[in-house]
Structure formats: structure tokens, C-alpha cells
Symmetry: C2
Subunit: 375 residues, 2 copies
């Protein structure tokens, strides 16, 4: 490959989804490490922990009791970052309107959900069966469709046993994500994710939509991610796994050492647009990527995962292309992570191995066997 | 204050320096914390550690020996993220030029320095005397001026005893920063910072310069940060400390819980433009802010600090306004940090206390006494 020169020189790469650049220093992994070591999460946890507020039948902080759920369960976060009702914010009238833009704020309303992925305290996505993964995808989908305007073609109320009370207001975006592992700020090992819906589009989401929109305009209506997946399937060097409907790859512009994206081959805007075959393909891709991650350093691999899809408003439905990002912090072993700190925060994100090197390692790992036998 | 309603409602705030928004959830600090605890750095370290590669007289990985320096010392990082000479990158000629923009890269050359702040292994900026801080400022300044084009009015070669070999090429930016504490990826407690110079402007720097430029155009040539400092000195609620030349404040748009900026009152582009009085003012502000940080949770407070100033090329000298950012991760105690993870990475940065609350706490702390008596 002509561009394998990038394995040896420092260079910048462009992220066309966000319009930003990252610095790649492939030669830098050789430096000695004397800094912080992560504590890999304890390998042996009970299947049910009486102290865990997410295990079935246990009480939460509020006194509410977790139902005896069999697959997934949803409740509103007891300490939500956004709330459904609060006073309106009216910006103060400053004496000098000329500097008004320096102190801008706007009220944000919304709701934060917690979604448990399994009743088993010691499971992770990598441990779950195909059916269990399909039921998580169904739960995410159902949460999304129940927050669409009732006039939307995909609108459907969540099934009553899921416990989703319809929202008071129409919100603009539903950000589904998972923080896994203490290294990624997760405060409870019980397998769970979150979903925050808000008024207004979050910054990262609107930046991506702007770039998708601009690309579509200048490329005869073709989608940026559709073109990108097509190109990567030809090049092969950044592909980790693919099936007939989904592709898992280390993007050209990855910031985190083993960052990946899961992208459906078909340009679809959101979860409810997935066909049966595509849901199977996503469940398989989730299983493959999380098993490979665990097998990389023989540990329960920490990450933040997030789903990007069309806003709830219906806006940009012709533009959005559903995809998942995995941002995992580990760099060299179960205990040595990459820190995105000084230079990265002040100047530009920097990575130490190329995405091609990361993809090659992940591609060569076992994607069907889980590294430990907890279940 | 009319806008103290923002202490109670979730809202977004605008960062006019970068054009991005952040989500503020003032009510959210009440949630229980069951996640990772930081290990506050060991309070007792020796003044000289024979194993430390930054202590005077000790060998480094390369076999080079650290000089017997008395204030600061500079050397080229043994594991630099960028290098001075490497093959040129020529993008491959793709069959389909229409998708060329999806795999963009450019070579980056440069040089990474390590700058020790004191020969004492167990000192931090908070422990150093006014004179010692002035000598760090002099070292940063000298590093900057020695990297300017020789035709530049501020150009001056670094004094020979500082050990700065003139760079091979003319670089575009010099990013000076410090990662302090294991929580911020610092691999050695010996007080030190770094400075990376690169070809091309780093993303964060060019974003700030774009916003400063646009503001200047639409505000009769006034500077965004000059106006901002002026406004904050009137409002007072986000000020932590000020003297006749510098202001330390929690910016309206702070992301990290106790994030601060140090801004000179006068709109000056870079370190060499500081007057004697302004250098004294900066030394005092550095001492004040780091002492307050340590006194907040009675620990050696971790942070990433960075200096933003005019590019080396001379470009944007009429636009740049020198300033320092401090990004400290601790939220509630020496052991509980804020994680900028799932929602923050996928959607929008989120904070749990308002900048006004953070500023009030920092303002009420002692800024002249160091919390521990190591020196
Ligand atoms: O060079 P150091 O201090 O070993 O490394 C630290 O700072 C660098 C610059 O912010 C980061 O790239 C590294 O991830 C971090 O561990
Ligand atoms: O809600 P949790 O899991 O307690 O909290 C975690 O995820 C949130 C969303 O990314 C972050 O804001 C918190 O800093 C993090 O600790």
C-alpha cells in the first residue's frame, strides 16, 4: 500500500464527519511508562449483588424497586443531568448589548434514562447471547420511536412493561450511550447504558449533521458514510469485521487508540429503519467488537459507546446515517491507557498507533469467544 | 443577580472562543458516587530522587545526563510525538478523486521539549518563590523567541546554558503546556512541563484565532478577550483573583469543574510582549491559582495547563491575546473527579456545578499559603 509510509511519519489526518484534524505519531509507542496504571475491573463478580441498585428486585436511592426484569429495563435517572420542568430562562438585559454574545445561555429541558442490558450483574455485552443483544436493540428502538412526534411514520408508544412514561414535551435529540468500566467514569459494573433526550441538538451531533449535509450537496446526493464504507471495504486495511449488513472499522480519523465505528452498509437514518436482517447484523457486530476488545488485552475492556442517528424532530432524516462510535481508552495493556490531556486539550488530539495498526490487531483476534467464562 | 436562576436550571452556555456549547446541570452534584476514586499523589516525596530522570545529575533513557541546573532546564523529549526530519508525505493518487477528501492526511514536522520547573523533585508551581516563577516565565519566553523567524522583532536566540539547539525548520506554533498529576496522565511527579512546536496550526489554536478574528471585525477592532475581561471585572462573580495586570477567572463557558483562565488585562499577543510589571503579575497569578487549587481539596491538585499565544509565523499578531487555560479534573474531593465520557464525547460537554459556584469557592480560599510544608 502506497500510504503505509504513514506507519513511520508523524502526520495529521482529517475527520470529514466533524471537520477537525488529529495528530498521529506512530513511532511514539516505544516510550517508557511510569505514570498511572488502571485497575482492571475485578474479574469475579456475583450474578446478583444485593447492594447493586440495578439488579432485579433491589431498591434504588429513591426507594423505587427494580422490577424482576428478564432482558432489559428502563427507568428515569434518579440524578438526571436535565429535567422535564424548570423555570424558563430569560437572558438579562445588559447595559451594553455589544458584548451580549460573550455571556450567552439557553435553558435545556429533557430526560435521562438508565437502561439495564441484562439482569445478570456480572454480564457485559460481550457475554450476551444473540437474542439478548436483539432485545437491547429492540429496547433502544422502542425508546427512540416513543419519543418521535406522534405524526412521525415510525412513532410507536413503548410497550407498557418497558416502563417508559411518555415525555411531557417534544425533545430534539435522544443520545443513547454506554460508559463501561471505571476508567470511563462508570460507577456500577452492572451492564447498563443511558439515553438522554434534550431540547436542542447537542454540539457533536449538529456538527456531524452539518458535514453530512455539505457532503451530500457536493456529491450528487450520495452520503458521506455510505461512500466511506464503500471505500473502506475496497481498501480493507481498516476493517475489523463485516457481515452482509454492517461494517466495523477503525476510522481513518480515529482519536482513541482502538476506536471503532459500526456502520450499516445501507444509508438508513435511525434504529427503527433497520430491517430484521440488519438488526441481526448489528447484534452480531456488537458481539464481535466487544469480544475482540476483551480478547485484545485479556480484560473487561472499558469504553464509551454512543449511537448517532436522526434527530427526533424528523429534521435531517434524508441526511442522517445511523452509526455507533466506540471510544476505548486502553493503549498498551489492561492497565496502561492513553491520556487525552495537555497537548490534546490545548492544541489537537494526538494518537500513538495508526488506525491501520489498531485494525490489524483487532481483525486478527477471536470475535466469537469471550475471554473469560463468567456466564 | 438576575441570572442566578442559572444556579437552578439546566442550560447550555456558549463558548465564544471556540464557537461550541456546553451543558450545565447545577442540580446534579447530589448524586451518590460509587465509581473510580483517584489516588491523591503521595504527599511525601524526596527533594532528590535517584530514580528520577528529571532530577539534576541523573541519567535519562538516552544516556544523556541532566545538568546540575538551578532553576529550569530544557531538553528535547526522548520520545517526541513529532520529529524534525522524516520523509515527505505525498497523498496517493486514488482511482476515484471524488472521495479523496475522505482519506486526507498531511505530514507534520516539529520538535517536543521537556522543561523542568525546579531542581527539587517534590516541588510544584504552588511551592515556588516569586523569583523561581519568574525564571520559568523567562524560560518559556526565551523558548518562544528562539523559535520566531530571525526577522521578527522579538527574535532572540535562547541563552546557551538553556540548552536549546536552534530548530532546523521554521515551525508554525509552539504549544507550551503542563500535565500535572497522575489523573492527568503525568508520568513523573518532578515539576515539569512540555512545549511542542509543529508545522501547521493545531486545531484548537486555529479555532480560537478564527473566533478572535471574527469578533474583532464586527466590534470596531476591539478584542474578544479584552472585552470579556472588562465585562467580568464589572460582574465580579466569576473572578477568582486579579492584580493590576492579570485576571484569573472561571470562564462563563468552563467545561472542567474548576476550570480557570489567566488573562492579561492588556491585549498582548505573546509572552515576549509582557512588560516587567506584567511578568510579575503573571508569576503572582500562577502562584495564587495553584495555591488555591491545592487548598480546595487539601491535595496536590491535578490539572492540564496550556498557554495560547500568537503563532510563530508572525501571522495573527494583531489578533492573538495571550492567555492560559487550566483544566483540572477534580469535582468533589481529592479522590472524586469529573469524567468527560459518554454523553460528553458523543453529544456535548456537561458540567455539574456552575462556573459562578466554582469561582466563589476558589475566591474564598487562601491564595498565599501552600497547603503542605514540603519545602
Ligand atoms: O509526554 P508524557 O507526559 O509522557 O505524556 C502525556 O502528555 C502527552 C501530551 O499531552 C499525551 O500525549 C500523553 O498521552 C500523556 O500521557
Ligand atoms: O451517570 P453516571 O454514569 O453516574 O456518570 C457518568 O456518565 C455521565 C454521562 O457521560 C457523565 O456526565 C459523568 O461524568 C460520568 O461519571
Amino acid at each position: 500500500e502506497a500510504d503505509r509510509i504513514l506507519d513511520d511519519i508523524s502526520h495529521r489526518r482529517y475527520n470529514p464527519l466533524t471537520g477537525s484534524w488529529i495528530l498521529v505519531s506512530p513511532h511514539r509507542t516505544k516510550r517508557p511508562w511510569q505514570g498511572a496504571q488502571e485497575n482492571p475491573s475485578p474479574p469475579i463478580l456475583p450474578a446478583h449483588d444485593p447492594e447493586c441498585y440495578l439488579c432485579p428486585g433491589n431498591p434504588r436511592v429513591t426507594g423505587d424497586v427494580m422490577p424482576n426484569y428478564t432482558n432489559t429495563s428502563i427507568f428515569i435517572n434518579d440524578f438526571s443531568a436535565v429535567r422535564e420542568s424548570q423555570p424558563l430562562y430569560k437572558p438579562p438585559r445588559p447595559r451594553n448589548t455589544d458584548t451580549l454574545e460573550l455571556l450567552q445561555a439557553q435553558g435545556v429541558k429533557g430526560r435521562c434514562y438508565v437502561i439495564t442490558f441484562s439482569p445478570k450483574h456480572n454480564a457485559t455485552l460481550a457475554d450476551l447471547s444473540h437474542e439478548a443483544l436483539l432485545s437491547i436493540i429492540a429496547t433502544w428502538t422502542s425508546l427512540y420511536t416513543s419519543h418521535l412526534p406522534s405524526s412521525h411514520a415510525y412513532f410507536a408508544p413503548a410497550p407498557p412493561d418497558l416502563g417508559v412514561v411518555p415525555p411531557r414535551d417534544q425533545y430534539d435529540y435522544l443520545q443513547i450511550f454506554e460508559n463501561k468500566g471505571a476508567a470511563m467514569g462508570c460507577s456500577n459494573p452492572h451492564p447498563h447504558g443511558q439515553a438522554w433526550c434534550t431540547s436542542g441538538l447537542p454540539g457533536e451531533v449538529s456538527t456531524e449533521l452539518q458535514h453530512l449535509t455539505a457532503y451530500k450537496k457536493t456529491h450528487d446526493g450520495r452520503g458521506l458514510l455510505a461512500d466511506y464504507v464503500h471505500l473502506e471495504l475496497q481498501k480493507k486495511e481498516r476493517i475489523v469485521f463485516h457481515n452482509s449488513t454492517w461494517v466495523a472499522l477503525c476510522p481513518w480519523w480515529a482519536v482513541w487508540p482502538f476506536e471503532t465505528m459500526l456502520i450499516p452498509r445501507r444509508e438508513i437514518p435511525s434504529l427503527p429503519a433497520l430491517t430484521r436482517e440488519e438488526r441481526d447484523g448489528l447484534a452480531e457486530a456488537l458481539s464481535q467488537i466487544t469480544k475482540r476488545y476483551d480478547n485484545l488485552f485479556q480484560c473487561s475492556f472499558p469504553y464509551s459507546m454512543g449511537i448517532h442517528q436522526a434527530p427526533l424532530s424528523g429534521e435531517a432524516e434524508e441526511i442522517a446515517h445511523l452509526h455507533l462510535h466506540f471510544y476505548p481508552p486502553l493503549l498498551r495493556s489492561a492497565s496502561v491507557r492513553k491520556f487525552l490531556v495537555g497537548y490534546e486539550l490545548m492544541a489537537e488530539p494526538q494518537r500513538d498507533i495508526t488506525p491501520e495498526q489498531a485494525a490489524e490487531r483487532l481483525r486478527n483476534l477471536d470475535g466469537t469467544t469471550v475471554y473469560r467464562g463468567v456466564l
